[in-house]
Amino acid sequence: MAWKASHYTHLIPLNSGDGVVYNGLSGALVKLSPGAFTRCETILASAPHGKPFEASIESDDLFAHLIAGSFVVDQDFDELAFIENQYNRERSRSQFLLTILPTFGCNLGCDYCFVGKKKGAMDRERQDQIIEFVTKRFENQKFPRMSVDWFGGEPLLALPAIEYLSAAFLDLCARYETPYSAQVITNGTMMSDKAVDVMTNAGVDRLQITLDGLKEIHDVRRPSKLRVISSFEQTILGLGKVVGKFVIRLRINVDKHNLPEAWRLLDFFAEQGWLGADIAFYPYLARISPFTDACASVATEVCSIDEFQETNTRWMKRLHEHGVPVAFQALYQFPEPKLYNCGAIGNNGFIFNPNGEIHKCGLAVDDSTEAIGMLGQELDSNHANAVKWKEWTPLANPVCRGCEFLPSCLGGCPRNQMQMREVQKKENCQYYQQHENRILATHMELAQL
């Protein structure tokens, strides 16, 4: 058998002199001591651009490891065709992934919020139509798992809807022997004991809560609509009720202005005793970007990818010092091969807004012209809005087809590609080409293997 180097094998030198070999398609990861790493470089360089290796090189015992990790592959193996087949197969049998907005209402008025100015909560008739929609899907298809994201507006303003719908979902999943999980994306200000009980009974195991800084920063960027109340203090009170009970992904939205403030927030978390190995409290930085017209005003405030990643690396190291398990965690950008890249292009991903509209992309959930249908009506699979998601593929893009980061990127956000958002597309490429391997090296450093 003849062998060639995989197009997706990456050689990453570490500061220690060791090196890492990573394959984006197989996900295999091997650390080599300096001599072995040099030998690996020599082996792979001996057959560049898909040319076959000399047969004699197979006697090197390192070569067996390269085969095992798919760092080298059969000369006849078409990796791109494999990715394409896998992508099409997996999107068609994707998990049942619902995002439900039980209300557009929110008690905060964040200036960068991408959800527009729609109002209103989901009534019981709409909720029953969701149950009917889900029941029909279960009757016709076996899902590997069902996941629900509760989103809004502020979803905890609509606790009865979460309670009512979750009971039905849990019942269906039990009946069809399907694993169920749910997360709530919340501003954390409405975290009453009642809310904790409802979420616990609703199968919620993860919360995403956002802080933008300490009180003086957070209250300005995420002000309560009742101006006399500090949204920061409300959120901290809320966190006190849920830290240790749920996995908390504590999101810190950053731009040029509050990037340095994140460090003060980290010190605050440490003072609260929320950082540690077994607490499941994971603060992470998220770069604000002008995703939609509703938040286009933030465009001039955005920090650069380089600046963000530099801060993020230091952030991970600080968390590690506090005992937070950062190494190899996907939340902290540890590279993973993707099967498909977005819920919107999966056949079984749906978003329901309070008005009964069914959407594919969460970023367009307040835009009725983007809906693919309405609850209570038969879903038309030939609806133009549905077809554009169903037919989109990164493999149509010649740049993506030739890219060595394709398996972990898969073209990035499909919406950015469809709408030809050149800045976002360029930043996505920049992230993978300039930062992914460095991030992997940081994880290796933190793991201290």
Partner: protein, 101 residues
């Protein structure tokens, strides 16, 4: 699941290695590309049990789950992530108040 080699075996091998090379080269598997059979692992020098053969000038130094890092060598990544309460970045995510993509 293969594990670290015993210290007894190591001392024998170390003597042999230091006689020929100053620093033996190390191949440390951190993530397998798939669930691999014992036979496949044996081809890489993993023996299973407590005793691993470090043949040639490559050696398998770490081959067990380590609690201080999320995943080292292990076949079922999803199970490890589930245990940690985290999902793969590969999972599609609809974002939240701004999207992580």
């Amino acid at each position: 699941m293969p594990t670290r080699k015993s210290s007894k075996k190591k001392s024998t091998k170390s003597k042999k290695t230091t006689a020929t090379t100053a620093s033996p080269e190390v191949v440390m598997w951190l993530r397998l590309p798939k669930a691999m059979s014992v036979a496949e692992l044996q081809k890489l020098g993993f023996r299973g049990g407590d005793d691993i053969c470090f043949s040639g000038d490559t050696c398998v130094a770490a081959s067990v789950m380590r609690p201080d890092v999320g995943i080292v060598v292990q076949a079922d990544l999803q199970a490890a992530l589930d245990k940690a309460g985290l999902s793969r970045r590969a999972d599609p995510c609809f974002g939240g108040d701004t999207c992580i993509v």
